[in-house]
């Protein structure tokens, strides 16, 4: 019987629950014996001219070296159209920007020495928000002449909205959040006698890190080996290779010492890239029967101080229309620089922002025409017979069953009863209001990111080793891939080893992001296994004196179909005799489009503004499920993180660009009592775009849950005159919205 589709406990877990993982800080490898410890001195001000004097720090106990921009002899690197220095060079542009690097013999000497680095900050005018950036009063990169460093301006024509009975416009803030994996960033590095750098890095893709670090150091890629130990979460923020890695590699060479670096949480919150940070203006127009005729989305991305990643606003544009068929669509995107931490990917990266905008717009439209939000969605869905569907913004959706996903969720939730309960409470003037929030979504996974590598060897004892270019950091991909291979090769899972994350073992790869690992990494291994099976089949046919076409592989034995008496040949028998290896690149990088529907139920205390998330009912369809255990785990995590954005999470800055949420005491991770048990509804619509029929699931639930919870909070207050409030829907913000609505009435 096939194990694919059954609930298989993860092979990763034994180590993790007995001795803990081996994260970068846990490494006790020989090359790191006697390593010095590293700490970056970071700017405490948002915008200033800097001069650094390291002389006092050099005399502090245990100090091995202090490096500043003046010491670095590296070519500068680009962030979008501008140069981002490796260490601040004359100017700092955000709180948290690295200014100097301190190396000490002992860990506890670091902070003492860092304090003695004398940095003079001569303040400059600060641009702390999108609005401030757009005024252009202060231009952060004078040679650019503007703070708008990317502009994809669409053609706007108000004629698009002619013929609409209702037209609404609203600006929706998608607040800045911190990806903040529980394991902060860390690295260790050492140069070998062979002149090669080994860099152990907490990253989502060793191979791209190798390329970036080699380029930064001005050496050949072959001179750098990146090794990824266990990674304690990434959420997109460990895709990129931060300047710190290059500086550490350089410092290790210059000092002749192996180095260990682990940042603090407070450092992480200001210097690891942030996510979201978009201001989206939606205009939606349509008829009173619920038909939307025209939609416009204007995206403004806060790129932070250095525009490291510019694809977020364009991805938001690409997914602007979500699950709906709208006749007329207009979009634009701009990205501005501000004196804040650089923005990059965070779980969903551009798609949650698109979904949040369209799903809020659909609710605004529904409220305006007095129609149930579920009904308005149903009227506008892309129908199953329209797939593959070419969206007006240029995406080609593969497959989808949007109405079915919604119906399943409404049914599971008891939607009609919930609405009746809501009406009862409103009638009775209950101060605790009930809110129901819907979001139906489609997302793009594995899109335009190239293919992925996969290699398989059957060892002489019949066990299997597989190398994947994917790079899991908590998703349980080892288990999922081992299940697929076990099924395909008929080899038990405990005889299969999955390897990844060492550029010497897997030189070619793209890594894990964009929910691409199973669909691309999995397909690559499927292809490699197919090739190994064909190699083995020919050899087994020889031994059995049969035609290869007559052979079947069953439970790891090649035998003649329908003739069990003629015996069989095992993997071990073949592998003993010949090398059975296949090394492939699955090159079909075409994306898939998972989709779903989420319903959130909240209670809002209208006297205090307190919001309690009571239920989340979620249908997330990502095609066939390999391991329901891991699949559900990804959904749970996504639901929790998505709800957290709606309710709690925000990275705040004051007008001077000072972060005010730079510790976990201020920055709200959601905790166990704030979340309900999740109610999952299953649905499987396969794709035709890869060998497994699967779509990605890593980000899907984050994308749906944020607008569902957000919409629920607004819905709870709608009878009191509240039409919109921005996330996070904290008690203070809810209470303020209520107060304003009461005044207006």
């Amino acid at each position: 019987m096939s194990i694919v589709g059954t609930r298989v406990v993860r092979i990763e877990d034994h180590q993790l629950i007995t001795r803990g993982g081996t994260y970068v800080e846990d490494l006790r490898v020989e090359a790191l014996t006697g390593a010095v410890h590293a700490m970056f001195v970071r700017s405490p001000v948002a915008h200033a001219r800097v001069t650094v004097d390291a002389s006092a720090a050099l005399d502090a106990p245990g100090v091995v070296a202090v490096y500043t921009a003046a010491d670095l002899d590296l070519a500068p690197h680009k962030a979008g159209p501008v140069v981002e220095p490796w260490l601040a060079d004359g100017v700092v542009r955000y709180v948290g920007e690295p200014v100097a690097l301190v190396l000490t013999e002992e860990r506890y000497q670091l902070a003492d020495a860092a304090e003695l680095v004398d940095v003079d900050y001569d303040p400059l005018d600060v641009v702390a928000s999108i609005d401030a950036a757009l005024t252009g009063e202060t231009v952060l990169f004078p040679d650019q002449g503007t703070n708008v460093l990317q502009a994809g301006d669409g053609e706007f024509d108000d004629a698009a909205f002619a013929g609409c009975e209702v037209v609404l416009s609203h600006t929706i803030l998608n607040q800045r959040v911190a990806p903040a994996p529980l394991e902060v960033r860390g690295a260790a590095c050492a140069w070998g006698e062979d002149g090669r750098l080994t860099l152990w890095l907490s990253t989502q893709n060793a191979q791209i890190s190798r390329a970036t670090v080699a380029k930064g150091l001005g050496v050949e890629a072959a001179d750098v080996r990146v090794v990824t130990p266990d990674v304690g979460g990434g959420f997109g923020a460990k895709i990129g290779t931060d300047p710190e890695s290059v500086v550490l590699g350089w410092a290790s060479k210059r000092s002749g010492r192996a180095i260990r670096w682990v940042e603090t949480r407070s450092e992480n919150l200001v210097s690891m890239t942030h996510g979201r940070a978009q201001q989206n203006t939606v205009t939606i127009g349509g008829r009173r029967d619920g038909t939307v005729l025209a939609f416009r989305l204007e995206v403004v991305q806060d790129a932070g101080a250095y525009p490291r990643t510019m694809f977020l606003p364009t991805l938001t544009e690409l997914m602007a229309t979500g699950v709906y068929h709208f006749p007329k669509v207009e979009t634009s995107n701009r990205a501005v620089v501000t004196n804040t931490t650089p923005i990059a990917a965070y779980r969903g990266a551009g798609r949650p922002e698109a979904t949040a905008a369209i799903e809020r717009a659909m609710d605004l439209f529904a409220a305006e025409i007095g129609m149930d939000p579920a009904e308005v969605r149903r009227v506008n869905f892309i129908r199953p017979d329209e797939f593959p569907y070419s969206s007006p913004t240029g995406a080609t959706y593969d497959t989808g069953e949007y109405a079915k996903a919604l119906d399943q969720v409404l049914e599971a939730a008891g939607y009609a009863d919930l609405r009746a309960e809501q009406a009862r409470r409103r009638e009775a003037g209950d101060p605790v209001a009930l809110g129901l929030g819907l979001a139906t979504y489609v997302e793009i996974t594995g899109g335009d990111s190239g293919g992925e590598s996969g290699k398989i060897t059957v060892n002489p004892d019949g066990s299997v080793t597989a190398w994947t270019g994917s790079s899991p950091h908590g998703q349980g991909l080892d288990s999922t891939l081992a299940m697929l291979l076990s099924d395909q090769l008929g080899v038990p899972m405990d005889r299969i080893t999955i390897r990844h994350g060492d550029t010497d073992e897997v030189p070619r790869a793209i890594g894990t992001f964009g929910s691409r690992s199973l669909q691309l990494g999995g397909s690559a291994l499927r292809q490699a296994a197919d090739q190994v099976i064909e190699q083995a089949r020919a050899l087994a046919a020889d031994r059995l004196e049969a035609s290869p076409d007559d052979l079947e592989l069953s439970e790891g034995v090649f035998g003649v179909r329908g003739a069990p008496a003629s015996g069989g040949v095992t993997w071990a028998q073949i592998a003993e005799q010949t090398d059975l290896t296949a090394d492939v690149w699955f090159g079909d990088g075409s994306p898939t489009f998972p989709f779903g529907a989420h319903l959130a139920v909240v209670e809002v205390d209208t006297l205090t503004g307190k919001v309690v998330l009571k239920r989340i009912i979620a249908c997330d369809d990502a095609g066939p499920v390999v391991n329901p255990l891991a699949f559900q785990g990804q959904r749970h995590g996504g639901l929790g993180q998505g709800a957290a954005q709606a309710l709690l999470e925000v990275m705040n800055y004051d007008a001077d660009g000072n972060p005010t949420t730079a510790t976990l005491a201020d920055y709200s991770f959601i905790s166990a009592p704030e979340l309900p048990d999740f109610e999952l509804v299953d649905s499987e619509t396969p794709t035709t775009r890869n060998l497994l029929g699967v779509k990605g699931i890593g980000e899907a639930a984050t994308i749906g849950s944020t607008p569902a919870v957000h919409n629920a909070v607004v819905d709870a207050l709608s009878h009191l005159g509240v039409r919109h409030l921005d996330m996070p829907t904290t008690p203070l913000r809810v209470w303020q919205a209520l107060t304003e609505a009461r005044k207006a009435n």
Partner: protein, 156 residues
């Protein structure tokens, strides 16, 4: 100063700086790296260990304060490989972990939770683990793991 702490049944005596944190003592001096550090504000619980049987955040205890006391870490919960603590077994069975970084602290906090309340309700589990943050699981399966370990029904 010289500090002696019994960690998982073995006494570790080392000369350390006065300001050495218990979590660093456990990781560096005792060489037990399961206990993780996730924050610098006593907020995340990744560093939770048992100190004389009570769960504490070891990033907020000085090694000196633990001098002469007994500490249990994740590594000390189980006997030989086959002999897992019910919570270790349950975290695995219920998929109560993903990246695993919060897990040692989460399991140690759960040990202490169940000691005080052997048959908690789901809400009591959630409330009891409030000081332990997980960024990956959405907590649902962590609650299931604790329910499973306490011999109660889970909600898959």
């Amino acid at each position: 100063m010289k500090v002696s702490i019994e960690i998982n049944g073995t006494t570790v005596s080392e000369e350390v700086e006065d300001r050495t944190l218990l979590v660093h003592f456990v990781r560096e001096q005792a060489g037990l790296t399961a206990t993780n550090i996730g924050c610098d504000t006593t907020s995340c619980g990744a560093c939770t260990v048992l100190l004389d049987g009570e769960s504490v955040k070891s990033c907020t205890v000085l090694a000196a304060q633990a001098d002469g006391h007994a500490v249990t870490t994740l590594e000390g919960l189980h006997g030989d490989e086959g002999d897992l603590h019910p919570l270790q077994r349950a975290f695995r069975e219920e998929h109560g972990l993903q990246c695993g970084f919060c897990t040692p602290g989460m399991i140690m906090a759960s040990v202490s939770l169940l000691e005080g309340n052997p048959k908690p309700t789901r809400q009591e589990v959630r409330d009891g683990l409030e000081g332990n943050l997980c960024r990956c699981t959405g907590y649902h399966n962590i609650v299931n793991a604790v329910m499973n370990a306490s011999g109660q029904e889970v909600q898959r």
